[in-house]
Symmetry: D2
Subunit: 353 residues, 4 copies
């Protein structure tokens, strides 16, 4: 059997749709007809070859996209009977080669031998995909299946990061979210859902990003950092005490080293974004004397993935509002170019079949 | 009533012993005859005026030393009857002006309005001291009371830091301790006590410090960083995975930025020491992709203080071995000069009365 | 100085309002003019002498009520300057004689030597009351001060119990609340606030209690246990898996031993209520094989008290709707009689001054 | 291929060794030559048919024993290359049919569809066994492989239970272990290893069990409950405060309902053993007023299993001393009869090949 796949053959050059061999099913695998695949900022970087110094992608040509929803069309012999043809699924993209001591404790996304869709192996920009059954999360009961694709990365990553922050935040505290836009509009929703008692401070340098998120969720204090100094505003708001958590979706050294200074005693700074130089300076005395914690958060676990889907199913995440652009499979290069030009606020999804 | 106190009147100049007024007791206060007071590295810095840019000490003249053991000689009217004359006590030095939302949750050392002995107010280098009863921990049942003085800072600070690290460490993991010597000899003992299953890697640049700690506790792997690169050794030892925890009693930017790179997935880096520049660069991508945590640990809570004393009383901390030098009250300047010359391995205690 | 106090002199007999001596202030104490005092079910039991077998009340005559709001009218010399005359405060009622190793870790309500208002010492049914400053929580910024009284017990107790349950509950889980009415209407609100993703199942045997709570908060599934078997309903709802948490405000042996059987793997049963025989049978095999936890929750800590007040101030707790009856000081016996007759749904407050 | 297996065909009748069909390997499975299989008390109950009311064993005939060590002799095509022929392994017995939301969070032993060796499916009393690779833990580097068999149940179960208790215990606390003998000798070791600062109180009604455990590990206080009342002894020892944890390997209603009364504020009672009636009465008021927790602990997770093996490998568990009797495969009925007669102190292992 053959199917059409969108191949990255050469960095920065147009992606090519070609016929490829559909893999045969191993015992615990499921064959999935891809319905939609999301385009993430990291797809853009992979396409441009920005991650080559880090050894990514692992192979060329590669099929990009790690945000995948589809329909079960065939199952291997060892797959539990709960997986049936016609069933709609989200594919958890943070897969791995084999179980290890991290995966058996639930830290699936931190597996020693990662096999991430669209990064280490072929991803969602193709008509068919195979996956071990255990990485498939049923998405029955949703009205808009294609809009679920970003739940595999954008919504998942922010969910885990916000949960990490949440453990440090009480009823009287402020939470700062750095970076609005697509990722930020999920993060802002998680903050308001998981910490309904906190005051959300949203920071961005783009007015359109602030506006976009503000339409989806109530941002208590919005700061355009190109016009105002957020640390000054926050010092005033908190009487100099600072905030209990920063969720930083940008992560540039300038932002981190400055914003750590408005984290209050026993507060947390969650690093998610990868912008700018890799060396980030932090102020040691403040961290020690106030017992501040800085931690990284990477995508999410399979268990987090189930939670994200459940919350969306209950109507507690506005997932449709965040998907602002849908492309046909044939228009995939347009999606990448638009993203490259920085014109996208919200998330983009490619409709495959 | 008057008593003799050792005053810091001018930075770097010899301390002067003079008669001062003994404060009268407020209702919840206890009058303590000081038996011994420890000399900490931060006392040296206070004496030299190194902390003036940070606004410390809060006043001049000041009586230094925050490591104090003594005997109850009088009690205020509101003091519980369990405090009796003749009772030996350790004075918890991380006191504060008033209760706040941090202290009522047990984070006494992080109080909003700190009143630290020997830093914000007069400390232990004097014959008499008053303290609210609730900061006094009974030390009956010990053979060597003066050697307990450092339990208020050196043993306490390392205890809290090691407990923070312990939450991240399992049976197969390595723990790295940076900085042996006095503080390190408590830390090494706590690591072996609280994580008896872990392999302890001790790092220092001084052979005498490595030897000193190795006599007190079994260091599984000792590395002199002036001759060997610890990150290389640890990469080899762990097959490239790294260690689960670093307890860093030094904290220089060079050490932190380098050693974070050998922290394994879900590991922790605990900052305790304050050496060198305050801006410490950390590698963001490794922290994110492996969900590494960096946190500060500051002295210890009153509850930690009780635990430290209990463990010492049970013979689980060799506290006498760490105190390598005892001075008479009149020799106090010698203690500071010896410390300044970098000749001290272990801790120094001044016998007051 | 003298003031009027409502005295319990003889069990089950009418309470008497008499003049008593106003205590003089100790250094850390504050004199409070009582504005309102709530009447709790335990006040009824104290009045009737039901707790005499447990040694309560500790003395006779006693002034009942542990739910107290008032105004600062005088401060002792050691009281921080943030406490000023005219300031409105809630008095944290779970006070104690002296600090101990539980209180210094934040478990104030579990102090070794408890000094609970209206139980161990005189409580709120009097014109003036003294309290150590650290047990006073400012309640500026509220419209209806008297309606805040129950925040010291009813709202606090349910807050802590719900937080304990919350640690076990995820997005797909059900939470069962046993006992609606006054206490239950706070609990239901906390469940919806702290676990907005969970489905709340409310159980009671009184239709009026179910109706009352349903007006304040959205109860997803309401069961009148006198007509339907809640375990049967819940087994059907959860496909036999059960619920993740039960918050039991009743606590009778019949309820506990039955409802534990619908707690799912890794779930929790929080005991709050004291109805019926003290020996409660639990099914050992289910508890072991599914690692179920049963725990008690007792009032709340001082830190919980601050959180409760903050959440109410932010409008996240409908506290006014729960107070259904207000009495004048002179009508205090009517309040007790009405409660005795079982006619109260919601909470009762006595306006003192 | 065929091999010899020991079959339970009829309850209480001698087990029969017969030739059976060796299963063929599925892709992720490993064929294991069984070296030794432990005999647990639950094997005795299965043999006697005691668990028939609970629906166990799931089938007849069945091969008993869930404590299995063996050697890899063949691997399926999907098994990672780290599994090689000749490799010695412990088989984690708490297997399951398929991944679910509990297993992906690391709670493998609590899987919705359990497939426990020797209980739900054939276990270790046979020459060959197949298992999914992910349930195999390498046991290279041990001197005595057969003595490792009980690490799959007895050592694992007590490890998890002690870890649960450990979270509640501080430096000044007592831990009570109810039930010495085989299981107890592992538990006592874990208590001393994981809480080296605690005082261990061992309780049993058999002098020989007390002696047996006392040879393996230092029991601080040993109480023969047939001669002394442990609650009285412990009340005296703790000045009426009680102990912070009870690990109960017996679990009879009489013991639980009595011993809960000596659990101190914020303490825990861990239920492990299944003796006697299933309904266990607990004292509600004490549980509420002191916030005591009662919880079940069931075997251990796969992650716990790795930890148990690591600790034994490091010499931190005396595993050989606990195995007091070894039988040949042909003597298997003798092993069951000896256990039935109550003559066994320590654990029994059957050497298969």
């Amino acid at each position: 059997m053959k199917h059409r796949a969108c191949l990255l053959k050469e960095f920065s050059k147009p992606l090519v749709i070609e016929e490829v061999q559909t893999p045969t099913l191993k015992p615990y695998e499921v064959l999935i007809k891809v319905l939609a695949a999301g385009i993430c900022h990291s797809d853009l970087h992979l396409w441009l070859g920005d991650f080559v110094p880090q050894g990514l992608p692992k192979k060329l040509p590669i099929v990009l996209s790690h945000e995948v929803v589809g329909e079960v069309v065939d199952v291997g012999e060892g797959v539990p009977s709960s997986f049936r043809r016609g069933m709609k699924v989200l594919v958890y993209p943070w897969q791995y080669v084999e179980e290890d001591q991290l995966t058996i404790r639930g830290f699936t996304q931190l597996a020693r031998k990662r096999l991430r869709l669209g990064i280490d192996v072929d991803g969602g920009l193709q008509e068919y995909l195979v996956s071990n059954y255990k990485f498939l999360v049923g998405v029955e009961g949703f009205e808009d299946i294609p809009a679920l694709a970003p739940l595999g990365c954008a919504a998942l990553t922010t969910y885990r990061a916000v949960k990490k922050a949440g453990a440090f935040v009480g009823p009287d505290d402020y939470v700062v979210l750095v970076g609005l836009g697509g990722l930020g509009s999920y993060a802002a929703q998680w903050i308001k859902l998981l910490m309904p008692y906190t005051r959300l401070v949203g920071v961005d340098v783009r007015d359109e990003a602030i506006e976009f998120v503000s339409k989806v969720v109530n941002v208590d204090v919005a700061i355009n950092a190109s016009r105002e100094d957020p640390t000054k505003v926050l010092n005033e708001l908190t009487g100099g005490l600072g905030v209990k958590a920063v969720v930083d979706l940008v992560g540039s050294p300038e932002i981190v080293s400055k914003y750590v200074n408005i984290v209050d005693t026993l507060g947390i700074y969650v690093l998610v974004g990868h912008m700018g130089r890799v060396e980030v300076p932090i102020p040691r005395p403040r961290i020690i004397r106030n017992e501040i914690t800085i931690t990284g958060s990477y995508t999410g676990s399979l268990s987090d993935q189930y939670e994200v889907v459940s919350l969306a199913r209950k109507g507690l995440l506005k997932y449709r509002e965040v998907v602002t652009k849908r492309y046909k499979f044939e228009e995939v290069n347009e999606a990448f170019n638009t993203l490259k030009e920085g014109k996208v606020v919200g998330r983009q999804v490619v409709l495959i079949t």
